[in-house]
């Protein structure tokens, strides 16, 4: 029983990591809290839902289209709403603009898909494997593998692909990166695009596991991304991983052993505790700024 819960927790944690990476990257580079993050990824998930249920498209194709559309929406939000604010506005203005963008997207989602819980179709037929005396549903294994695989791919991308390396440079220091000839606007758009893409993948994996997708999951996704990013430490991939895992595993244990009604409050409690005790997160380090 314990290991079942743990395994589900790990699976959920991996999904949370996918959702968190995009948010964490954006914050570390631009110090902008992308409130619209969750609503963007739920848009992609909704698109996938429509493609699968209403149009009965091939799952692989549907997932591909949905993730790309999610990424594009994320980049669009950046270009339309955030780009103008990058130059030294009062930080609060950027945050509130993000809030406004979230508002717009959330309501657009609501108009298109309503605010009820929709049944997300299972992509893979449910079986169970028997490993080491445990019964593990295939969906969980697939979800976990896909999530982990994508995280690994992304890490390699950052290290070896030229766009990935550009992202790392930009996240260190924008003026220097631009002096090195790195196209800042394009790189930032790519950051948002990938963040949205990964988020949508995470959302699809989640919805497929739980057979549900709903508007409320958007806001919850944003909160999860915030919390996991802060727990693990903003800005690093490992931070997103650590934060996502901790959050996923703990949530699941609380949900099973205590009560599922406490799942949401637990997330917020985590957030509050971490903010009060160590806002830089587990993997983060304190920044000293010159006076």
């Amino acid at each position: 029983m314990f290991f079942d819960v743990l395994l589900v927790g790990i699976m959920v944690g991996a999904i949370y990591t996918l959702v968190t990476i995009g948010y964490s990257m954006v914050y570390s580079i631009l110090k902008l809290m992308n409130f619209a993050h969750g609503d963007v990824y739920i848009f992609g998930t909704f698109v996938c839902y429509s493609l699968l249920s209403t149009y009965h498209l091939n799952p692989i194709f549907a997932i591909l289209v949905a993730t790309v559309m999610g990424g594009m929406l994320a980049a669009l939000v950046e270009v339309v709403a955030y780009r103008r604010l990058r130059s030294g506005q009062h930080r609060m203005i950027s945050m509130i603009t993000a809030l406004g963008a979230a508002y717009v997207i959330q309501n657009a989602n609501e108009l298109s898909w309503g605010n009820q819980v929709l049944p997300f179709p299972t992509i893979v037929e449910a079986e169970a494997w028997h490993l080491f005396g445990l019964t593990i549903p295939v969906t969980q294994i697939i979800t976990l593998s896909v999530a982990v695989g994508i995280i690994v791919l992304f890490t390699l991308f950052l290290k070896f692909h030229s766009y990935g390396k550009a992202i790392l440079c930009v996240s260190e220091d924008i003026p220097t990166a631009s002096l090195m000839g790195i196209p800042i606007n394009r790189t930032i758009s790519i950051v948002y695009f990938i963040g949205g893409l990964l988020g949508v993948i995470g959302g699809i994996l989640y919805s497929t596991s739980y057979n549900a997708v709903s508007l409320a999951m958007g806001f919850r996704g944003t909160i999860i991304a915030f919390t996991a990013a802060i727990i693990g430490g903003i800005g690093s991939l490992s931070g997103a991983l650590v934060g996502g895992m901790i959050l996923g595993i703990c949530e699941n244990f609380v949900g099973v052993y205590i009560s599922s009604a406490y799942r949401d409050p637990i997330t917020f409690l985590f957030l509050i505790v971490i903010l009060l005790i160590k806002p830089t997160g587990i993997m983060g380090s304190v920044e000293q700024s010159k006076v």
């Binding site: 110090k31 203005i93 509130i96 108009l111 949401d264 409050p265 917020f268 957030l271 009060l276």
Partner: protein, 337 residues
Amino acid sequence: MTTKNSATAETLPVTGPHSHYPRLQTLYAPGVTRQAAIYGLLLIGLLLIPRVINNAYYLGIVNYIVLYSILCLGLNLILGYTGLLSLGHAAFYGLGGYTTAILMTRYGWGFLPCLLLSGMIALVFGILLGIPTRKVRGDYFCLLTIAFGEIFRLVAQAWIDFTNGAMGIVGIPIPRLLGWTIRTEVDFYYLGLGLLVFTVFTLILLIHSKFGRAFIAIREDELAASVMGINTAVYKIVVFAIGCFYAGLAGSYLAVYQTTVTPSNFRIEESCLMIIMVIVGGMGSLLAPIAGVLIMTIATEFFRGIAEYRMLIIGGIMVAVLLFRPQGIFGTSAFKD
């Protein structure tokens, strides 16, 4: 090097592009009687509104405008003057609402003590939320307020014995204030107006004092503010407490006006709506949020026909305002590009 000139504290010459403050500075300087006369005339006009608006439906809208004005004026103190982004303002609104609701329905308290206690309880929780501002940096503090707001709503929903859960508290009795029974829309208008006048007056006193300047200094440059002798940690707690006090008053008003309070009255969407109103009206300028409340309320009424698209348009307006005129209609130029 020094050449004396004729400028003194009594005659402050106005030259060049200046801030919004000259008009409002006059509270503690000459010219206050003229300002007071203007406000007095305005007040008389407002007192006569129920004579002009006979329709109960429209007067109800006016009452909502008054209510949200109180909320947004308090939020502007925290957000516009001090630069703290609080997305949990609705929770303090709720604390006030539930305090009055529970005390009046379950313990038979009169309205006036409930009103005061609602404000005080919101103030105390405001202090609690203000304390972490010392440790938790600006952006992260915003998350804390979101968490607080959500936890309030979740507790209100879950603690059924105390708050009656999602059903909320119903049957809040008709309030009486010093012998005056407040029953009709007109009665509630005068009650609301009284609270609004109180809010505006006390805010004027605060903003024109050294405290108001300290809040602005904290918003502009917290480090420099501390070097000016401003205990920034304490002042942030103070501004939070005061801003939330007004929210508590507003919650109390809502409780007796609606005769019910439910958790859905105090969701994060409410907080966001208040933020939008403050932004559109203008941050950091005393009465500017009222313009925001007016505009958003009228827009909501106007778009009632296409209700589903309403929120979309409102959100779009907010983003547009922030991109092209962040200081809102009447806000301080500190937020201009």
